[in-house]
Structures are given as C-alpha cells and as structure tokens.
Amino acid sequence: MKLNIIVLAKQVPDTRNVGQQAMNPDGTVNRSALPAIFNPEDLNALEQALLIKDDNPGSEITLLTMGPTRAADILREGLYRGADAGVLLTDRAFAGADTLATSYALSTAIRKIGKYDVILCGRQAIDGDTAQVGPQVAQQLGLPQVTYTRRILDLQENKMTVERSIENGVEVVEAPLPLLLTVDGAAAPCRPRNAYRVLRFSRAATPTEQAAEGFRYAGKVAADPQLTLQEWSLAYVEGDASRCGLSGSPTKVKKVDNVIFQAKESKRFTDSDEDIKALVGELLANHTIG
C-alpha cells in the first residue's frame, strides 16, 4: 500500500555543546550563539517514516517545519536522508509561538497538505524539552496518538501496532489510522545522508532562496519540481492570526533559574517489609507521591 506520511521537524540550537552565551539575559535562548541542527528525536521520527516507506514503496514522506527562512536547511537535510518533499511554514505572524500556537500553526499546514495516513514527530525538541507539540497537534486535528514510540511492529490498511517506551519497560499498543506518533530517542537512529541525494538536493530551495542573488541552479530547479521546497505563509494555510505567534501563546516566561538538586540528608532503608512500609508512609505524608 502507498501511504502519505508527514514528519514534523524542528530546527533547534545544538544544546549539546552549550557555551557561555547560550542564554539571553531575558531568559530566552540565544539562537545565534549555537549551531542550528535537525532536532535529534525528529530524526528518529524521520527514520520511522523511511522504514515505513522501505516496506511500502511508493509511499510519500513530506517533511514539515515551522521557522525562519534558514529552517529550509533541515528540509534539505531530510531530503538527503530520503524524504520526498519539504514544506517550510514561515511568516512573521508565527514568531514567538509557544507550544499551543505552534501546534495550531502546524495543524493548519497539515490540513493544507490534506492527505495523510501517519504523522510522525520527535518526542520533544532539545531546546524547549516540553514534549507538548506532538500531542497538541493530534488534539488539534482530532487524531489518535501514540507517544514514546520505539518501533512500529505491524502496519495494516487501517491500523498500526506500536511498541512504546514506558517507565521500566515497553508497552505494545494498537491504534487506528490515521494517527500521530511521537518517537523517542530509543528508536532506531536515522540513516545517514545519501551521497547521490546530497548531490541532487543541495540545489533544493524555497522560492525566497531561489529569488536571492547568487542562486545558480534556476535551470535545474525548472526541470525538477522536487527541487522546489514549499514555502507557506499564514494566509496560504488560512490560519487565524490571533491563534498564532505571541498573540496565540498563553505561556509567559517569568524567569529562568538553574536548579541544582542537593542531597542534604539521607536515610537508609533495608528491603524489609516494615522499612518499605515506613518509607511509603513518609513519602505520602510529605506529598512526594500520592
């Protein structure tokens, strides 16, 4: 069978190598101080999409990202690894979005794409670490969702069997299509860029990039429709401006603190029933659990 797959991806600052200037004094991320990369777990999601495509030739993978013009870089990165098409959702109106406004904007673009059987995204992005956008997109679209996906065990016309991570183990669930999956870092790593695709798709560009001075592949782009990356505005996806960007974002950052956990005192419990009972009682009493 041929499936239409959408992968949601985010360009993020590489927080794995954080230096002194990583944060602005106002508590927001200083994006210019950090290299921009493909959010790692979104690559895990892309790999799941590619695995579906491996088993179902003819399936189409569309990569969707919201961000500034330069976020087109991760669309190319996705094409290098095997995605079929890229959509950049970009508009000043989207700027400053929290997870709610982001998931709204993405859902409008997904509606615009129209056909989809599976939507995949990373569990969370390494800049915000909220793990909210995937589930919210499912909610906006009224889709079932499976979070913390590790691997897809079985895929049929109307349903999918998925292994997902839970605390202390895994769980196997079945869900109907279309659905949204969030994929976590324990899933298969993404396959490498492919040299042939790199050579071909390094010319892929959004209309804005194609119009920029010094763009050298007008002829190639005219001959190969896959080399044009879609660039969609708020008006194009027919979104409601009041639900986008800052105005659509109820989240307000008051301040950012470093939290350092310190063990001030320790208690020792044996594995006897009495000790465990005492521990549970204590944790209930101080509201750590329950």
Binding site: R191, P192, R193, N194, A195, Y196, R197, V198, L199, R200, S202, R216, Y217, G219, K220, D224
Partner: protein, 568 residues
C-alpha cells in the same frame, strides 16, 4: 566530530590549479548534467558536491567507524561453513556506507556510480583509514571496479559495475602459497570448457584480503605448460555462481576488521577479463599500481591517526607540573611526526593528480583519438604517476610505521597498554610496508627512475616553479640536497656493478624520495603557508640530515663492503 571539516589540511588539495582541469576533463565539460540529476553543472558545483560528500564521510568516520574500531579489533571476522562473516561492528560500518551511497565513488554515472576523480576517492580513503584501516580495505576494494571498467567488455561493465556501486564487495585474488612477491609463479589453473564456452578455476589462493567478496578478480594460469607471467590471464569470478570457499581466515597482528583468506577453487566458473595472457603483464600491473596508491592512502590516514592521538595525549598529560608537549624531547617527536605526515600527504595528492590526468586522457581516448600533443601530455602524466607510485607506497608506509612507533613513545607506558588507540595503530600500520609489494619491491620498481635520471628531471621541474618569498630559502636548500642526490647516483653507477646498484638502491631511493617529498611539501607550503610552512622547513631539515647520511655511506662504499654483508 568530523574528520573532514575539523582538519583544514585536506581541503587544501581541492585548490590545486591542476585539479580544475581534472574535474573539467573527468566531467567532459559537465555534459552529464542534463542526463543525471546528481551530476554537477559546473566546476564550482562539482567541488561543492565533493565537499559535501567529504563532510558526510568525515562525519561517518568520526561518529561511527572510529568508535567501532576497537570492537572490530577485538572481535574480528569469523569463518562459518566456508563463508566469512564480518565482525558485527564491521558489518554496521559497511551497511552505513552502503546506505550513504558510498560504494561506487569513481564508477561512471552510466553504471550507477558517482564518477568522482581519484583525488577525491583518495581523500575519502584517507579519512576512512584514519578511522579504521581494516575497514578501509573492505571499502577501498571497490576500486577494483576500475579494472573491469578499463579492461572488461561493455557487457561486463553493465553487468558488474552497477552491482558494485550498490554495495557488493570486491577482492583481488593474486597471491598463492608459492607466489607472493613473485606473481609469475601463480599456479591456479584456468581450464576452458569448449562445449560450454566457459572457463573453470581450480587451485588455492592465499592471503586474499576480503577473500569471500561478491565479485573477485582472479589471476590464473590459462596457458597449460607455461611457467612465467605470459601464461597468466585475469578472470572475474562471481560468488553467485559458487565454487569457491574460504578454508581459513588468517590470525593477523593487525587490521583485524579485514579478513585475510585462504581460498579453495573447486571448478569455479569464471569469465575472462580482457585478453588472454595479458593478466599479469598488463592488467595486474595496472591493478597493483592503483592498489599501491590505496595502501599509500591507508598509510597517510594511519599517520594522521597516530599523530592526532599523540597530540591529544601530549596536550593533556602532565608531568613535572606541565603538559608534556612543552618538553623539547616530546615536541621534537610531534613536530617530526607532523612534518612526515604532511610530506607524505603532499606526495600522495601529487601522485593522485597525475593518476587522475592519466585516466582523464584514457576516458577521452575512448571517445575520440587523441591529438599528438594530447598523446604526449597523457604519456607525461602517466610516467610521473608510475614514477611516484613506488615512492608514495614505500615511503608512505615506512613513515606511517615510524609515526605509529612515535605515537606510542609520546604516550609512554600508557601507549603500550591496549587501552589506548595508538597500540592498535602500531599493529595496523605494520602491514602497510609489506602488502601490495614490500618496500624492498617498491625500491626495485622505483630505481630505474633514479638511474635514468627521471627523478632528477622531475625535481628540476618542481624546483623551477615559482614559490612564495618565505619558501625561497627552503627551495635553495632542496636544490643543494638534489645535488648531493645526483652525486650519489653517479657514484653508485660508477662501479658498473649490478650487485652494487641493487645493494645501494634502497639508499638512492630514499634520497630521491626525501628530495621529492621536500619539494612537493614546499610547493604546498608556498600556496598555503599557514598550513604547511613550518612543516616544510622541518621536513627539509630532517631530509637534509638523512640525505647527507646516505651520501656518506655511498661515498665510503666500495664493492668489498658486499663481502661483509654476504658473510653474515
């Protein structure tokens, strides 16, 4: 980490003036851009594409292959019912390189390859060997495809090259228990079955790298009753047809990722590659030249690894209250390692450019007949390639052994422990001066270019090139060194004694090599002082001392000396 983008040295070789011509010729003025969606439209795009693929491989090497290398070293391949199974981590590397589309680097596009020049393939192999020299063999053997491309029929090209480009592995089955350095003694028997119109192979091959490959090039005796090289032909054996099994995987000192096999041919069907009787004298000679450059590349990659391990250790290890890199005995070693590394790399890429120009003319000659000027030019490039190949293989491998030795020395006692990478590098490096022709055989291959004055002429050419003011004094020193070399060649020849020539040939070879490497590094330094100037000065100084030592030996030599050696 990325072995390409983190190391500015490699990018330098993309800027050589001859490289543009190589790319334009190889791409036939970019005619394939219309036909293949991944073909470049111009030189700038071609180079941008090479850089992207180098970046991709640099990343895979640093993030996958290098971290796997220690496991591959301790696990190694296994033999199961006549078949070789790579170590699981080797298999992972292989799968990664297949998925990344890196198995047909220089195969033409019409057969599914990337059509990259030798210079780029060499740079990629340089990166891979730095990460894991053994994996470098498995991956690098794709270059055997060039033999089928050059000497096979069109039908064979169409049948085999796309399979190789999509990831099937190759081997070259040349040596046998009694035919190592002396390939003329090959005995594996090829019999032609008239009724079937097919060749069958019977016999044993030994020390075959990646011997359980999918597609083999096999040297076999096709002319019954013959006993020399003229009775040998080259065959293609396809594993799908069966008839060959691996009897043994050698238990080696190093390069554990690369299975070295003993193969038994039992009525294995095979097809002729090229013409009968030309196996050794033409095809294997060409194949070996390319394989020798492959080993030279592996050596440079290993040298780089040995140097970077040593620098990394010396930067961090503190003794007597300071990082050890601050002590003269340590920075002397590091400085000389880097100079040797840079010099062998300058020579490597000079050789690769000449190989590239040679094959560009070969490709052109298949399309149309060359003009007399072109023929002359082609011949000149091919001659330089042939003359530099035994130097880059011999000296590159000796240098990498020296660098691996020094890398352990910089590490001190820790370097002797298996915990440190330099211990593996030392074992891996050891084979480079042995396989694909020992250093002693490289001397044999090279010495004619010393005696006929070719190296001397080549040096004159290099020394006539314009250099930056900073390199002018270095050039003066090399000019003097070249004089000492010429005097030594003349003295060696003055005895009119073949035994003397053979005996002194290693020293003559080294003198020529040090002069040529100094000159080439000087030229690179002239183009990029920031990267190479200090290396060029160091290497020239080191070379002067070595050349002087050899000159002294040759000056004091008389044929009676031979008796003192023979009697021991």
């Amino acid at each position: 980490m990325n072995y390409y983008t983190d190391n500015p040295v490699l990018r330098h070789y993309l800027n050589h003036p001859l490289f543009r011509r190589i790319v334009e010729m190889r791409e036939r003025n970019f005619a394939e851009a219309e036909k293949y969606d991944y073909a470049p439209v111009d030189f700038e795009e071609a180079v941008a594409g090479y850089e992207q693929v180098l970046t991709l491989v640099g990343e895979l090497c640093a993030e996958v292959v290098a971290p796997n290398a220690a496991t591959v070293d301790t696990t190694g391949p296994t033999l199961k019912e006549g078949r070789v199974e790579y170590a699981p981590a080797s298999e992972e590397n292989m799968q990664m390189f297949r998925k990344a589309g890196l198995m047909g680097i220089s195969i033409p596009r019409q057969y599914g390859g990337l059509n990259f020049p030798t210079t780029i393939f060499t740079m990629l192999e340089d990166l891979v060997a730095r990460a894991d020299a053994g994996f470098g063999n498995l991956w690098g053997l794709q270059e055997c495809a060039e033999t089928i491309n050059s000497f096979g029929t069109e039908e064979q090209r169409e049948r085999y090259l796309p399979r190789i480009a999509s990831g099937e592995t190759m081997s070259m089955d040349l040596t046998e228990p009694d035919a190592g350095s002396d390939l003329q003694s090959v005995r594996l028997k090829a019999t032609y079955n008239e009724a079937e119109g097919r060749w069958y192979l019977n016999g044993v091959k030994r020390f075959i790298t990646n011997g359980d490959a999918d597609i083999h090039l096999v040297l076999a005796r096709s002319e019954e009753g013959s006993s020399d090289g003229r009775g040998l032909s080259l065959f293609i054996y396809d594993k799908r047809n069966g008839g060959v099994h691996t009897r043994r995987i050698e238990d080696k000192m190093g390069i554990h990722g690369s299975p070295t096999c003993e193969l038994v041919y039992n009525n294995a069907p095979a097809e002729l590659c090229g013409s009968r009787k030309m196996g050794l004298i033409k095809y294997v000679m060409a194949l070996m030249n390319s394989a020798r450059i492959g080993i030279a590349t592996q050596s440079v990659g290993l040298s780089e690894a040995a140097y970077s391990e040593a620098v990394g250790y010396a930067d961090n290890r503190k003794q007597f209250g300071r990082e050890i890199k601050n002590f003269a005995p340590v920075y002397e070693m590091l400085g000389e390692m880097k100079a040797r590394l840079d010099a062998s790399r300058s020579l490597l890429y000079a050789t690769a450019r000449n190989v590239d120009m040679t094959s560009c003319f070969e490709i052109l000659a298949r399309e149309r007949s060359l003009t007399p000027e072109e023929r002359q030019e082609a011949k000149a490039f091919s001659r330089v390639a042939d003359a530099l190949t035994p130097i880059v293989k011999g000296m590159g491998s000796e240098i990498c052994n020296r660098n691996a030795y020094d890398s352990i020395q910089v590490h001190g006692g820790s370097g002797y422990m298996k915990d440190y990478t330099c211990e593996r590098l030392y074992r891996d490096a050891r084979i480079t001066s042995i396989y694909e022709g020992t250093t002693q055989l490289q001397v044999v291959a090279a010495i004619r270019y010393a005696t006929n004055g070719f190296y001397s002429t080549l040096l004159d050419e290099y020394l006539a090139e314009e250099v930056s003011p900073a390199m002018a004094p270095v050039r003066e020193r090399i000019v003097k060194m070249a004089e000492i070399y010429r005097t030594a060649v003349a003295r060696a020849q003055s005895f009119g004694c073949q035994e003397t020539n053979d005996f002194l040939s290693r020293r003559i070879y080294e003198m020529a090599s040090y002069c040529i490497m100094s000159a080439l590094l000087m030229l690179d330094a002239s183009a990029n002082e920031e990267l190479f100037a200090s290396s060029a000065r160091r290497f020239t100084a080191m070379s002067e001392a070595i050349v002087a030592a050899h000159a002294t030996f040759i000056e004091n030599y008389t044929p009676e000396v031979l008796n003192d050696y023979r009697s021991c």
